[in-house]
């Protein structure tokens, strides 16, 4: 299923941007029935009511042609999820409070930049993760640890999650995270694009290690198996070809694969 959807999105990207999706709110039974049978592959059906979601499921005829997208506001019942995922190209589900306001949601879905925005998400306290949905309705799973307290003590409130600023901001109570910063950390393709765009970029392995070290809030003294002066020389690109073993140690401490070191 995922590869089909990705194919659609990649095709659109190669054609010069994502074609707009068409948000369709399901508020009446007749709309639920249309959602169950529509062949509009660009439609995003948005449902707030469990009853209407049930009605969609009941109206699906099998085997179903797969078309369009579905956003369920409120957690779906596990029993209906496979049916909905069999009918729609992609199904997103978000907390009632964890979704963009209606006008902002529609703007993002119609935007060619929707892959770089979040439309909503769901917080799982037990697992310690936030599942975020991009405007392309792809999921991104982010651990709580990705939202560290600020140096002046501002911490995320996991009970007060929402998305704001047309999907540019994730809000956890008083704590706000920039969407770009999350995409940069968790989406390699986004990171590559941003690095290309960065006008004042430092395109060296050393600069990349330095950026990642700072992002992890580590000093050069936090690498017990490495002389801080050596690390400083690597970061300043004074060591043209660091030894593989050294790179492995750096990568281990930074929590990435050695092959990823140069991409930050």
């Amino acid at each position: 299923m995922a590869s089909n959807v990705l194919g659609v999105e990649q095709e659109a990207l190669s054609a010069g941007g994502l074609a707009p999706l068409t948000p369709r709110w399901i508020t009446k039974p007749a709309q639920a029935e249309r959602a169950a049978t529509s062949e509009d592959s660009r439609a995003v059906w948005i449902i707030r009511s469990t009853d209407l979601a049930n009605r969609v499921v009941r109206r699906i005829s099998w085997p179903s042609h797969r078309a369009g997208y579905l956003v369920l506001i409120g957690a779906p019942r596990p029993g209906v999820l496979p049916a909905l995922e069999g009918r729609f190209l992609r199904v997103a589900f978000v907390n009632l409070g964890g979704v963009l306001p209606k006008d902002e949601l529609e703007t993002v879905l119609k935007s060619s930049e929707r892959r770089d925005r979040f439309i909503g998400g769901i917080v799982d306290h037990e697992a310690g993760i936030v599942t975020l949905w991009r405007g392309s309705l792809e999921a991104m799973v982010v651990p709580f640890s990705a939202f560290p307290a600020t140096a002046n003590g501002i911490r995320p409130d996991w009970n007060a999650f929402t998305v704001a600023d047309y999907g540019h901001t994730l809000r956890f109570g008083d704590y706000e995270a920039a969407t770009d910063s999350i995409l940069y950390d968790f989406d390699r393709e986004f990171r590559r694009r941003q690095n290309k765009l960065r006008t004042a970029s430092e395109p060296t392995l050393g600069a990349s290690i330095r950026r990642l070290r700072k992002q992890r809030q580590l000093t050069r003294n936090d690498f017990p198996s490495l002389d801080p002066r050596t690390l400083a020389r690597i970061e300043r690109s004074e060591v043209r070809k660091p030894q593989l073993e050294t790179l492995q140690r750096i990568a281990d401490r930074l929590g990435v694969q050695p092959s990823e070191l140069g991409s930050y």
Binding site: T107, I154, Y166, Q217, R220, A232, Y264
Partner: protein, 96 residues
């Protein structure tokens, strides 16, 4: 909470200026300016827009003037959040 710069009421309807709590530390210290679904990053270090798109000329001059007028306070707030990436400059050569 994010630092929302105080704006006059007539500007507040359209514009927001913020320092967020989770920004990538590779980025040059900046404030983010918002107008609906568009955003611009304005460098606190070099007093310029960091991205060519969206077109910085779309930002009202008054907004930039207000940022410049409150620069010291914005820099203080930014450094308070992100001491590893201070507005004043890079880390020292020993990398502490």
């Amino acid at each position: 909470m994010p630092s929302d710069m105080q704006l006059p009421r007539r500007l507040r309807k359209l514009w927001k200026v913020k320092i967020q709590d989770r920004e990538a530390l590779y980025e040059e210290p900046h404030v983010t300016i918002w107008r609906k679904d568009r955003k611009w990053r304005y460098s606190l270090r070099n007093h310029c827009f960091l991205d060519p798109q969206p077109d910085p000329s779309e930002v009202a001059d008054e907004i930039v003037d207000l940022i410049e007028a409150q620069l010291d306070e914005l820099c203080r707030q930014r450094d308070e959040r992100f001491p590893q990436n201070p507005v004043a400059g890079e880390e020292d050569e020993n990398g502490e």
